[in-house]
């Protein structure tokens, strides 16, 4: 690991919690016993949040960002609607976040995860693992090839279904920028019925989790494309920063 970001160690812009889901939401039952009740302790970021792990492009294998073929290591293709998911990782200053790790995971085309605890009876796809990763380029761009995940039922209220979604995990350059979120698909009627998407009470913010169909980014006779940008916390930067009075 090495430092590759000249903005490293500048203070993080305080997080606006109103941009995020509520932590306690009775419609999402598991949140009831897992949401802290007491106020968070707020103070200016410190080195512990301003620094973070830095990963090199050498971490990434050739098939890591291709979920259609990475589980079989190229021997066979996963079943499902072929899609390309692409976009940029940005910060609040509207700058691309370069060389940062993006990880994704998702259900297969039938809505089933390759996980011991997923008891849904839709079948596993022998050629689909469901994980992928890549690094952004110097402008913050990333892309994945995958199949469109299926919607699936989940135990919450008596008939709740998750809309089609892909989980995203993003690092940034400081541990305090760490973010996990989910990408939804334009036009999915389940989005507005789901209590997990419903934890984001600000409609404009929820809209930002819905990736539009991107025909210009697609390839004829091969795959459709969806575009999904993610904005991480930014850093304050002024010449008045970090200097004791009078110096």
């Amino acid at each position: 690991m090495s430092s590759n970001n000249n903005t490293e160690n500048d203070p993080l812009i305080p997080r606006n919690r109103a941009n995020h889901p509520v932590v306690y939401d009775p419609e999402y039952k598991t949140s009831v016993t897992r949401s802290p009740k007491l106020p968070l302790l707020s103070m200016e970021s410190t080195l512990s949040e301003e620094t973070g792990p830095v990963f090199g492009h050498n971490l990434i294998g050739e098939l890591d960002n291709n979920l259609i073929s990475n589980f079989s290591q190229g021997a066979a293709l996963a079943i499902g609607e072929r899609i390309r998911v692409h976009g940029r990782i940005l910060d609040e200053r509207n700058r691309g976040v370069a060389n940062t790790l993006v990880e994704v995971w998702q259900a297969n085309a039938g809505g089933r995860y390759r996980h011991d605890r997923d008891k849904y009876f839709a079948p596993l796809d022998p050629n689909f693992g469901g994980c992928g990763r890549t690094m952004t380029d110097e402008h913050g761009y990333y892309e994945f090839m995958t199949i469109r995940p299926g919607a699936y039922p989940w135990p919450n209220r008596s008939n709740d279904w998750r809309p089609m979604h892909i989980h995203f995990s993003v690092f940034g350059s400081g541990f305090g920028q760490r973010l996990i979120t989910q990408m939804y698909f334009e036009g999915d009627p389940l989005i507005k019925l789901c209590p997990i998407t419903g934890t984001v009470k600000n409609q404009q913010q929820l809209d930002r989790l819905i990736a539009p169909l991107d025909m210009k980014g697609s390839r004829p006779m091969d795959y459709l494309a969806y575009k999904f940008d993610i904005v991480l916390r930014g850093r304050r930067q002024t010449q008045f920063e970090n200097k004791p009075q009078g110096s």
């Binding site: 995020h20 512990s48 200053r93």
Partner: protein
């Protein structure tokens, strides 16, 4: 009318869900062969300077049940208080680790070296490890810190901000024996852990 500010807003978080292991630690989830090994298997390499320690604990929900599906990440400096990437940092300390609650018992374990006190803008912070906790039902990852009961914590600028002094204890790992500490996290209840917004 005024000029427009040009800031973007942060993308909203969503829960990591019960299957976070697939994406972050696939080998742990039983998905072998996609990556050579899981990311963040250890925060240290052989030869890292400092005292080897193991921190063990559980993440408890409001009913006292240990979460079986939580995933945690840790970030820390080396034994002298330098973070990876800083000049003089120990090259054997990456400082980053990923680990999960055991599916059967709900217990997690972190093997690392004890960090040193670190000098920051806000002063010298007592030795601590930052934790980030995600799971089903947690809509935005929770941040906290592990301090150590056998270190000098009285001048730490973050701990000093906690008004209810008995809550400081929720951030202090208890020494079980030499090199072994216990750090339980309580999401709710009488012993709710102090979670951070930094």
């Amino acid at each position: 009318m005024t000029q427009e500010l040009e800031w973007l807003e942060e993308t909203p978080s969503q829960t990591a869900g019960p299957f976070v292991h697939i994406g972050c630690i696939p080998t742990f989830a039983g998905i072998a062969g996609v990556y050579p090994e899981d990311l963040g298997k250890s925060p240290i390499n052989d030869g890292a300077a400092g005292e080897c320690i193991t921190i063990t604990g559980s993440v408890f929900d409001g009913t006292g049940w240990a979460l079986r599906d939580a995933m945690l990440e840790s970030w820390q400096p080396d034994a002298k208080g330098y973070f990876a990437g800083q000049v003089d940092a120990d090259p054997k300390v990456s400082g980053f680790c990923r680990f999960a609650a055991d599916a059967g018992t709900g217990e997690y374990s972190l093997k690392t070296i004890k960090p040193g006190a670190a000098t920051m803008r806000t002063g010298v912070h007592a030795p601590h490890i930052s934790l980030w906790i995600v799971a089903r039902g947690i809509n935005i990852g929770l941040s906290t810190r592990v301090y150590f009961e056998d270190e000098y914590n009285d001048a730490d600028p973050l701990l000093a901000r906690i008004e209810q002094r008995h809550r400081v204890d929720t951030l202090i790992a208890k020494k079980v024996k030499t090199g072994e500490y216990r750090f339980d996290i309580h999401l709710q209840g009488d012993n709710e852990t102090v979670f951070l917004d930094l």
